[in-house]
Symmetry: C2
Subunit: 188 residues, 2 copies
């Protein structure tokens, strides 16, 4: 039931926004009582926090798996991270939308739990860019922080447009982004 | 006064979210009466619509100025568009944040006015990418739609992190993004 509450509230939050969705709306959709809701969550905010934490924790766990592979070049790991983010939009699209849009709703105290995790994901990516520069894969004249923001921007923005089941698969989009990023779009 | 209402409500919407900000909050911040608010806007939603329209109309007008320059190569126009988007974050940062975050709040009818404008901005950018492929500037093996999403993602994502007055100017960031985009980050 906990999973069902999370799933249907993500749907409602995405469609109407967090503030406009009441606990009543959530339980009505599921045909259960408010008591059932309060058995699992103390408040709507706690539920939102749960959605946020499981989204970002999942991303970090899979990122660390990619980074752990000592034999892969930095470019392959960058591809892994881009693909991970786009894949996530496909599988957890609504969750991602709610995550990006409803951050501001969380209290200061709750944000203090989320923001360092977002920063860690970015920091890990930046370390990887620096590693690639150090081992001669990437250009040393670019700023690693800005390169990282560029990579994350390309991939994260897909939550605005990527259509699972559309013209291009998530793999095709990831490959093209990595190709653009590594080689550039200009004719040599 | 209209401008002041817009300005201070953008600030409130950004900080608290649209749904959590009341007309009372807006007028209190300005020390005016609700009558003053209703003299300019029929509702909070109309005010949000006003913020959205002036944001996107401004972007499109400046984009069309960039595109009009027949003598510039496509790469220079792409640089112009990236710089325009990042510049906008600097100057209208809160407006941009409210724009991206509060889209869903608008009614279907109001969205029908906004969405085609967003699409036009993207469509203009994609046309430019196609033009660059046609005139031999850009690689013909990349998908223009995906390249466009990549460019807009890099630039638009800056609303999440770009700090006016920070370590790098908006010009430095734009230059680096264009450099990454055209030439790639890999060592040749």
């Amino acid at each position: 039931m906990k999973g069902k509450i999370i799933e249907s509230s993500i749907r409602l939050f995405e469609r109407r926004g967090f503030a406009e969705t009441s606990i009543q709306d959530i339980v009505e959709t599921l045909g259960v009582t408010k008591g059932t809701f309060y058995y699992y969550f103390s408040s709507k905010e706690e539920l939102l926090m749960d959605i946020h934490l499981s989204y970002i924790d999942g991303l970090i766990a899979r990122q660390e798996e990619i980074l752990r592979d000592a034999s892969a070049p930095a470019s392959a790991k960058i591809r892994g991270i881009i693909s991970l983010l786009i894949h996530d939009i496909q599988c957890q699209g609504l969750s991602a939308k709610v995550f990006f849009r409803e951050m501001k709703i969380l209290s200061e105290e709750k944000l203090r739990q989320i923001v360092p995790k977002r920063d860690l994901f970015r920091f890990n990516t930046e370390q990887l860019v620096k590693e690639g520069i150090k081992n001669g894969e990437f250009r040393p004249d670019l700023d690693p922080a800005i390169v990282t923001f560029g990579i994350l921007g390309m991939a994260n923005w897909s939550y605005q447009w990527f259509q699972p089941g559309g013209r291009l698969t998530e793999d095709a989009v990831s490959d093209m982004f990595v190709d653009m990023l590594l080689t550039g779009i200009a004719v040599k």
